[in-house]
């Protein structure tokens, strides 16, 4: 295994994040904090508890996930799209590095950033909302797994995209709405009859509920099932990435 190459790409990507720390770190933390202030502190104080959890605390896992999903996709997608866009992908392809190592390096760097971002948002939330974490290790496990899975998805997006517009379409027009409708701000048991069933077709429901279970021990769906769904999506992404490198799709002719 070419450890030096993994370290080089990983370090390069982390350095890129640190170089653009205002956009990469401060901006998502600030925008999520605004949600905590508006929906948590201001509106939340007038809402009733859900499953014994205050509304302000109830939305914390969902809001963290909202940022993590979008940032994971964006980080990984830009990580691989920019070398394609600028032509510097040539040095990755010409280097003695396997597809597996390329994915570890790019996805690893993007996922690291997402996990760190998630933890910063978690700490920031404590300034505005009073909450506790029942299963901290599971919380961390869910955070890492979801970050890695969506970074893999972002990597696929970065290979597929032919322009900056395509890069933005999926996170903004698919992931964001699914997260909003996936129980980030409410329990799906609050939805009218048929919509509860419809909501179960939204994959983000399982992510949000699994993550929320690790915080409060309550969930609309079984936590083990949530975990299985995350693993399933991860396997699908790994399969697509394997196919990309096997065929050279949009990377190599």
């Amino acid at each position: 295994m070419n450890i030096q190459a993994i370290k080089a790409i990983y370090g390069f990507e982390i350095h890129r994040t640190l170089r653009t720390w205002k956009q990469s770190i401060v901006s998502p933390v600030l925008s999520t904090s605004l949600y905590f202030i508006v929906f948590g502190s201001a509106i939340g104080s007038r809402m009733m508890d859900i499953d014994g959890v205050s509304y302000a605390a109830f939305i914390v896992p969902g809001l963290i996930l909202l940022t993590i999903l979008v940032e994971s996709i964006n980080n990984a997608a830009f990580g691989i799209y920019m070398p394609r866009f600028t032509g510097t992908i040539y040095e990755i392809l010409a280097a003695p590095i396997s597809a597996f190592e390329i994915v570890i390096a790019y996805v690893g760097a993007a996922a690291t950033k997402s996990v760190v971002l998630g933890l910063i948002i978690l700490l920031t939330a404590r300034f505005f909302v009073d909450f506790s974490i029942v299963y901290p290790l599971w919380m961390l496990a869910f955070l890492v797994l979801i970050s890695v899975t969506f970074c893999l998805f972002g990597f696929i997006l970065g290979v597929w995209a032919d322009g900056f517009e395509r890069l933005q379409i999926v996170p903004m027009m698919v992931v964001m709405p699914l997260t909003f409708l996936g129980g980030s701000f409410y329990s799906i048991s609050m939805l009218p009859g048929i919509w509860q069933t419809v909501a179960l077709f939204n994959p983000v429901v399982y992510l949000v509920n699994g993550f929320r279970w690790s915080f409060y021990g309550v969930s609309d769906v079984n936590a083990a099932f949530s975990l299985s769904m995350i693993f399933l999506f991860m396997l699908v992404c790994l399969g697509v990435i394997w196919w990309i490198f096997k065929t050279g799709y949009k990377i190599k002719v």
Binding site: N2, I3, Q4, A5, K7, A8, I9, G11, F12, H15, R16, R19, M82, P83, T86, G87, T88, Y90, E91, I92, L93, A94, A95, P96, I97, S98, G248, K252, V253
Partner: protein
Amino acid sequence: MQDDAIISISHLSKVYPSGFTALNDISLTIKRGEIFALLGPNGAGKTTLISILCGLVNPGPGELKVDGLDVIRDYRAVRKMIGLVPQEIAISMFETVWATVKLTRGLYGKKPDDVYLEKLLRSLSLWDKKNNKLMTLSGGMKRRVLIAKALSHQPKVLFLDEPTAGVDVELRRDMWQMIRELKDDGVTIILTTHYIEEAEDMADRVGVINKGRIVLVEEKAELMKKLGKRELVLELPSPLSNLPATIQIDGLDLSPDGNKLTYTYDTRSDYGEIGRVMRTLYEHGIEFRDLHTSQSSLEDIFVSLVSGNDATDATPGDAK
């Protein structure tokens, strides 16, 4: 001879998904430590050939070996040996010179070596720019950065794909000097270029590729000798209306204004031929006030080979 070969290509073809045949049954051997110039018009297949060897393009049928190792099966060992300076200036504009060169060294599995990288950047006059963002550098400096990246992992084989395209004369001369020094250090250099004088000045051997086929591979000096033409031009003190009918020498022509006699001859021919021409002219009372000789350039040879290939659509063959 096998030990002498650093790159062996055998019956390699490449057809792109669009149906375009970029390489057609190419066989070629590059010798260890030589400077090999690959010449050819646009779309001839030069970049495709280099890209396949470097792992940027999937090869078609055929066999490719670098230092005896298969480029697909032993890709790690092969790629560690290769450095590539691409045709396009492809660099991360927001990064610094130091960061980008360090990245490339790492990609090739080499541990960081700040001493070597400093020496490399100094040799390319980039040391004082090491903390500059690449976007702030001039075009020539960016090209130097590409060379620094290609050399950052100390390759045995260096591919230079049109390295001096769009580079000013001074920088071009610097690069030629650097290439010679690399050769002296034992690096094998494969150069594609449009600048014939570049190949003429530096190459040990020249390969000509056209329409995906190797038309010719030859020692440069041998090629010049075989295919080069020499011209002897005699300037006459007074114009001649025509050459006396008794002068029967192939290749001797009078200019339309009658002021010059030009004798074109093959470099392989016996130099005694010139003496015969001079004697014949003297015997016919034709004097001259000045003379000079010239030799056809590699460019002339290249043009004649490519145009000849276009006309005859030469069949492929092994080139060693």
